[in-house]
């Protein structure tokens, strides 16, 4: 019997669903709540054939994956893939270099250059920190004055990550964007996130609806996953009226509760089946 290490910090609907899917598929799960104990840096041994990283905190996700990988456990996603995906600058540069269309983005290391960048791109612009985990600090900015206020506010946050600004063109998407799910070399399911607000994240009120997956979307999602080395991911795609699909972000620990609810697709089972196949390789 294959044994999966479920590595997580906070257990939500998704982790319960993964446990349930494992039970149905007769897969043993070794539950590893990373906050419940301390781990030795050397000689760590977990009784599992493969690990699944589900930590909500990006920092914990990367660190705990490094730890388990050092013990010889193969973890999905790998520490490298999670590190690349959680860093928006890293993600966008790698995607661009691989020829994958992305929104026009400029990085600024000071407030002054951020303002210049916004003027060059043309308002409105989206301003975000480089680390992807702070969705609440993403702003849509209409003019110089508002931008300066936001940057000054960020200057007070005592975290060097907030001193690097990604300034991005505001893509005039059609009231929705697409979250495409990838598992291995398959693209099993996608949703539209529909919202009258410019942030379509379902945690922020975006409504999920099933989305069709055409050839172009499938190829783009697979290519983006391959570039970052993610095996299980949720890829955020914008539809630009002129340029077509643009990849905006890659999530290495994707939520899927709303996706399962609106599509009926058994995504947790898909993940567990993938892990079993990989463990047997």
């Amino acid at each position: 019997m294959v044994s999966i290490a479920l590595i997580y910090d906070i257990a939500r609907w998704e982790e319960r669903a993964l446990l349930e899917a494992s039970r149905k598929l007769s897969v043993n799960v070794n539950i590893i709540h990373v906050k419940s104990k301390a781990f030795p840096v050397d000689g760590l041994r977990e009784d599992a054939d493969i690990g699944l990283q589900r930590s909500l905190s990006h920092t914990i996700a990367v660190s705990s994956t490094v730890l388990f990988e050092a013990s010889g456990l193969r973890v999905v996603n790998s520490s490298k893939a999670i590190s690349l995906a959680q860093d928006k600058l890293w993600t966008l540069t790698l995607l661009s270099r691989a020829g994958i269309p992305t929104p026009k983005t400029v990085v600024a290391f000071s407030e002054q250059s951020a303002v210049e960048a916004a003027r060059i791109l043309g308002y409105p612009v989206v301003v975000k920190p480089v680390n992807g985990s702070w969705g609440k600090l993403v702003s849509l900015v209409e003019d110089d004055e508002t931008l300066r206020v936001i940057l000054e506010h960020k200057a007070f946050i005592n975290n060097p990550q907030f001193k690097i600004h990604l300034i991005q063109e505001y893509v005039r998407k059609p009231g929705r964007d697409i979250r495409v799910f990838v598992v291995g070399d398959e693209v099993p399911v996608a949703i539209y996130r529909v919202s009258s607000h410019w942030i379509t994240n379902t945690a922020r009120g975006g409504v999920a609806m099933p989305a069709p997956i055409d050839e172009g979307l499938r190829d783009l999602a697979l290519k983006a996953s391959e570039v970052l080395g993610v095996e299980v991911s949720g890829i955020d795609v914008f539809e630009d009226p002129e340029r077509g699909y643009l990849v905006n972000e890659v999530n290495a620990v994707p939520d899927f509760r709303n996706t399962v609810a609106v599509t009926g697709y058994d995504f947790p089972a898909k993940i567990v089946e993938y892990l079993v196949r990989e463990a047997r390789k």
Partner: protein
């Protein structure tokens, strides 16, 4: 069913038999609570999520 006390409103919280450490429980008072299992005892603390990956 195990019980624990809500740190916000002080009322009882019903905890599932198979509760997981780190599990999120939504209480009737509207707060989300994180399960902490310490020396076999179930404690609840208000859930604080700073970082998230989103859907």
């Amino acid at each position: 069913m195990p019980r624990a006390r809500c740190p916000i409103c002080g009322r009882d919280v019903q905890v599932p038999e198979d509760v997981l450490p780190g599990e999120v429980l939504d209480h009737e008072c509207g707060v989300s609570l994180e399960v902490v299992i310490s020396d076999g005892k179930i404690l609840l603390k208000p859930l604080e999520i700073g970082e998230d990956w989103g859907e």
